[in-house]
């Protein structure tokens, strides 16, 4: 895991031992309030977004800013409004209320020049084709003013060996990597990834993560939706939790839900029994504890609530 390298605010996502970060996380809310003006410098700025399907309110007054250059993960259960929000930003759906600016333009009337700056990986994928991977990428590249080389992109997503295979013959995971390749071949400044790793095996997911980190180094802003917590934690600079059409929190992954300052649980073995203590000052507690033992404290562990604990609590599911 090298996720923390660029930010310094991310933590290893282990169950047992969690080393908290020391970076200063702003105590103020990290996302816009209703009524705030649109942020013209943001890659994506959304205010008061509402979208209904019949009686069902899919997005219910959502405010969001995504900064240029960041990877922002929208995390939420199925039906929370992730895809609806993303597809409004992509220009596929029209909002019932609210304002949206994506790279400074209203997506409902974004023209070719605007679309040329976007890369879109749809949840549903890019469709079936009789063309080979290379042919598909070359065709897609020809729609953009300054595309990447098709073979370069194939290498980037690890499909070089499949260059001459028809898209139809790819496995699910390979197909998804081709979707990502099609999304980045136009050299986007803003890349939308809607549940990009659904159906990946663990190794494919790791490979995909390293691809996303490479893209970040190239300066691509990314809006990622996922329901994998580890994915959000590993990739995102900031995570927004969405539930029932509302954004309930935005934070760096390590600070989500007040996780950073939540009481830590110190556990150890003493007199043949497992002991544990919840404390808001774990360092002092451990120092104290160390004094009671001549050497190592047996089976010492200090745990913070995991992202999963925090997340399930936020979206109102019993953990």
């Amino acid at each position: 895991m090298i996720a923390g390298e660029t930010q310094g605010t991310q933590a290893e996502g282990g169950d047992c031992l969690l080393v908290t970060s020391t970076s200063a996380v702003p105590a103020v809310r990290d996302w816009p309030q209703p009524g705030d003006p649109l942020d013209p410098a943001a890659a994506i700025s959304v205010r008061g977004l509402v979208k209904r399907y019949g009686d069902f309110v899919a997005v219910d007054g959502l405010d969001l800013d995504i900064r240029r250059g960041e990877i922002f993960a929208l995390l939420g259960p199925n039906g929370a409004g992730k895809t609806t929000t993303v597809e409004i930003c992509e220009g596929y759906r029209k909002p019932d209320a609210g304002e949206v600016r994506v790279l400074g333009e209203d997506p409902s009337d974004g023209g070719r020049r605007w679309k040329a700056q976007l890369g879109i990986v749809l949840q549903s994928g890019a469709g079936d084709s009789q063309l080979t991977c290379r042919e598909l990428l070359q065709a897609q590249a020809s729609y953009y003013p300054n595309p990447r080389d098709a073979d370069e992109v194939l290498a980037l997503v690890g499909l070089t060996e499949k260059a001459k295979s028809r898209a139809k013959t790819l496995s699910g995971g390979q197909r998804r990597r081709l979707d990502v390749a099609l999304g980045i071949v136009g050299r986007p400044t803003l890349l939308f990834l809607d549940e990009p790793t659904t159906g990946f095996d663990p190794e494919a997911r790791r490979q995909f993560w390293s691809l996303i980190r490479t893209l970040r180094q190239l300066g691509t802003t990314m809006l990622l939706t996922t329901h994998y917590l580890d994915e959000a934690e590993a990739l995102a600079d900031r995570v927004g939790v969405i539930a029932r059409g509302r954004l309930i929190e935005v934070a760096v992954p390590s600070a989500l839900g007040g996780r950073e300052t939540a009481p830590a649980v110190v556990s150890w073995s003493e007199d043949g029994a497992r002991r544990s203590e919840a404390t808001s000052t774990p360092t002092a507690f451990v120092r104290d504890l160390a004094g009671r033992f001549p050497g190592e404290v047996p089976d010492l562990a200090v745990a913070r609530p995991t992202l999963e604990d925090v997340y399930l609590q936020m979206i109102g599911e019993p953990s």
Binding site: G91, Q117, G127, A139, Y143, N146, G186, R187
Partner: protein, 274 residues
């Protein structure tokens, strides 16, 4: 991977470039798919071979039914290459997300339709050439001569255009490619039976003739009969003449109607998604 941003000043690709890409994509999509090749290209040829072998009777004045059937099967071939092909392929591309994906790129929307037109044109020319070749080589069909070629050209062009537009419009009614096929194939078959493709039109009951005359296939077949049959057989037609003027008007009206329907109904996304 040297530059990190999309140069805002880089010019968008020209229409000609993107049109060329789409034309080439559509040709590959069609000719690499065995089902579409067999269904659209081979099926009319098989019908010509079978009907030519079985129904080789004299329809009057020393003209064989095969000569008559030539006009009908070419009209049916054009219908398959345009209406059926478009309805099924576009419904498929709409339901599997191809269209949605394309409209999220800076591809000019017109390029999608240009690609489809290139596909229809290529398939139409190919099917007509194959049918003519089989007709001449296997059944000694008399090829048209002189100004008949000109009639052939405009009837085929107008018929193909109207049926392409109708096919694009009809694709919006279907949930996916399979349901488009289930919807459009029986309709095409019935139209072929009542429009004078498989039987002489004069043998079709009058009320069926009336129904057929609302649709383009009947007029396309009639126009093509004027090309393949000697003029004395025009007396067998309902009006006692080839009615080429009316053929042009009806097919032209269907082009306009088809275009209006396309504009009113075309969707880039599945209905469920919007």
């Amino acid at each position: 991977m040297t530059t990190t941003t999309n140069r805002a000043d880089a010019a968008l690709p020209s229409l000609a470039t993107v049109y060329r890409t789409r034309g080439s994509v559509e040709l590959k999509e069609f000719f690499r798919q065995r089902e579409s090749v067999v269904f659209t290209l081979a099926f009319p040829v098989i019908l010509l071979v079978v009907f030519g072998a079985v129904l080789d009777y004299d329809i009057g004045g020393g003209v064989t039914f095969t000569q008559y059937f030539m006009a009908g099967i070419i009209a049916a071939g054009i219908l398959g290459a345009s209406l059926q092909n478009m309805a099924i392929s576009i419904a498929t591309e709409r339901s599997d997300g191809t269209l949605k994906s394309l409209v999220g790129t800076p591809m000019p929307k017109s390029a999608y339709f240009v690609g489809k037109i290139v596909q229809v044109l290529a398939v139409t020319v190919l099917i007509v050439l194959i049918l003519l070749a089989v007709g001449v080589l296997a059944y000694g069909i008399d090829l048209p001569s002189g100004s008949d070629w000109f009639t052939f050209l405009w009837v085929a062009a107008l018929g193909s255009a109207s049926c392409t537009l109708l096919g694009i419009a009809v694709s919006s009614l279907a949930k996916n490619g399979r349901s488009a096929s289930a919807m459009v194939t029986p309709i095409a078959l019935v139209l072929q039976f009542i429009s004078g493709v498989f039987f002489q039109f004069s043998q079709v009951p009058v009320w069926m003739q009336t129904i057929a005359s609302f649709f383009p296939l009947k007029w396309m077949a009639q126009g093509l009969r004027s090309v393949f049959l000697p003029d004395f057989l025009a007396t067998e037609e309902p009006a006692g003449s080839w009615e080429l003027g009316r053929v042009a008007i009806v097919l032209g009206l269907w082009c306009i109607a088809g275009l209006l329907l396309c504009v009113a109904t075309f969707r880039w996304q599945d209905r469920a998604a919007s």
